[in-house]
């Protein structure tokens, strides 16, 4: 933090004293990134459970666990950024309908309940079988997770299917609201010309879908290596392309509408995009990690490539898309704050490795969901057993 002395000595040129420090740090870059992956992964699962895209069956259960692992860490960046995590639940004690920030907490909690219930209901037959075949503490754990019921009759399973359809059905709008809302929080900051656009929720939502699908493809291919279902991968790639077309087009339309409207803010935005953000925005986000994957995905979706080629390109393009979305979060969150409030130039942001919200904590927070996913994988089998695959 800056003391008065640093503030006074740093406040030179066009920089106001309250401009010196980029307050929404790396943590606020990760917050929409992780939340987006959650929403996107859930949508992959819903494509199977609600829209009956049969090809996605092999990853339908996995995507829910993937979403849960990231959901468990979605609030960590915020808790680290704000400090005093013990106060986090105060907003549940005194709910404020007029607080945009608290609104995320309510949506997040409701969504967490829906996701947990959906996982438990979808996994119930598996959990019941595991409860019957395992011993010791695992048996007790599976007993609790299967809600103490061993009933797998047609009647019980039919009831489960209805409940799953209901949960997945309300889960889709909730996942969309979860991430669209993050975009709304940024879009609602009218003092920041880079953020204040009604397109922001749309862009955030579409990039969420894109990052979720890419994350699932990459994780599926890394975990299963040679045993991936190629029809499933090809279908995922088609959806990834579809969502990415919309995402990329809206991202560009946003910049073009700023440029075409050329309001009094455009000069600042222009200075920002062609100044400190040139490399991370035009070179990174747009050229390397949007245009290249855009064409790669087009080829993968339209040309019948052999399996070996798809096995090589699919994880590569997914990784590129994941980097694109991370860059987009960086360019929005950090970029938006690099405009001096005097609108006469840019300020600078250099994250440190070891500070509270530095690069190391950011890496830890990004690795943690993968650790949680590993632990979840020990309890909930990711993949369908061979006999269920045909079902």
């Amino acid at each position: 933090m800056h003391g008065l002395a640093e503030t006074a000595s740093g406040a030179v040129g066009y920089v106001f004293p309250n401009d010196l420090h980029v307050h929404w740090s790396l943590m606020i870059v990760l917050y929409p990134y992780i939340t987006g992956i959650v929403a996107g992964a859930f949508i992959v699962s819903s494509l199977y459970h609600v829209f009956h895209v049969k090809a996605l069956r092999p990853i339908a259960r996995f995507s829910l666990l993937f979403a849960l692992a990231f959901l468990a860490c979605a609030t960590l960046p915020l808790l680290n950024h704000l400090g005093h995590p013990e106060r986090a639940l105060n907003m549940m004690l005194t709910p404020s309908p007029s607080s945009a920030m608290a609104g995320f907490g309510y949506i997040y909690s409701a969504y967490a309940v829906v996701l947990l219930l959906e996982i438990l209901f979808i996994y119930r037959p598996t959990l019941v079988r595991l409860a019957q075949t395992s011993t010791g503490w695992r048996r007790s754990l599976y007993g609790v997770l299967s809600l103490g019921s061993d009933n797998l009759s047609d009647e019980a399973l039919a009831l489960d299917r209805k409940i799953i359809a209901f949960l997945a059905g309300i889960g889709i709008p909730m996942a969309c609201v979860l991430h669209g809302y993050v975009g709304f929080i940024f879009g609602g900051v009218k003092a920041n010309p880079l953020w204040a656009t009604p397109l922001m929720p749309v862009i955030f939502l579409l990039s969420a879908c894109v990052s979720g699908i890419a994350g699932i493809i990459l994780a599926y291919m890394v975990i299963k290596r040679g045993e991936v279902d190629m029809t499933c991968i090809r279908t995922c790639l088609k959806y990834l392309w579809g969502f990415f077309i919309l995402d990329f087009v809206f991202e560009m339309l946003e910049v073009f509408s700023h440029a075409y409207m050329a309001t009094h803010h455009w000069e600042t935005l222009h200075t920002l995009l062609w100044g400190p953000l040139f490399n991370s925005y035009w070179v990174g986000q747009v050229l390397i990690f949007s245009v290249v994957p855009f064409f790669l995905l087009g080829v993968l979706s339209l040309v019948r490539l052999d399996d070996g080629m798809v096995r090589f390109l699919a994880p590569l393009v997914s990784l590129m898309i994941l980097i694109q979305v991370l860059l987009m979060r960086w360019n929005v969150v950090i970029g938006g704050q690099l405009m001096s409030k005097s609108e006469r130039g840019a300020v600078f942001f250099h994250p440190e490795w070891f500070e509270k919200e530095g690069i190391v904590p950011a890496i830890v927070i990004m690795v943690l969901p993968l650790v949680i996913l590993y632990v979840l994988g020990k309890i909930f089998p990711f993949w369908l057993p061979a006999e269920e695959k045909r079902g």
Partner: protein
Amino acid sequence: MQPSGFRAKHNTHVLRVLIVLVVLGVAGGLARALLLPSSFGKYGHYRADAVREEMRRPLRNMTNESCLACHPNIKKIHLAGVHRTVSCEVCHSAYADHIAEGKVVAKMPVRRGEEIRTLCLRCHNRIIRARPKESIKMIAMPDHLEQKGVRTDHLCNQCHHVHAPLKWIREARAAMGLPERPQTAAEGGVSWMRD
């Protein structure tokens, strides 16, 4: 219906989920009842007692009127100069550092030597480009001293009275029989600032 070899009924798990949700809801309600501060919501979405607690905090800052009540000579000069709207505490320190319960408890810090230059430049440094030039005289150091033809190690208060920066300048001009220079906006020439 399939003949049941199962111990649980077909909807036992669903009922248990509902019970868990209801229990969680009730536990949340109880937690709220136990943890909510009693004065919350009395006036609005905040703890009403917080207002009283804040009011009990001892005041640190006061207005210029409080300071000038005991410093009549400074009052005469300060209120006649272009710094008349500048708070005493901006350059000195908080009132509470000097006075407690109506008594002087410590000497008020007065800036001297090089500190004066730093203090003046905090507002008047031309490098602060975000500040509109119209409302405040902006200068660069040592350009200003060179332009005025004085040594560059001169301190601001050798020519300017810190409470009324133009007081000595005007007096000197009058003593030398020079005409009064028309005031620029930065020197207090705006109608609402004029004496």
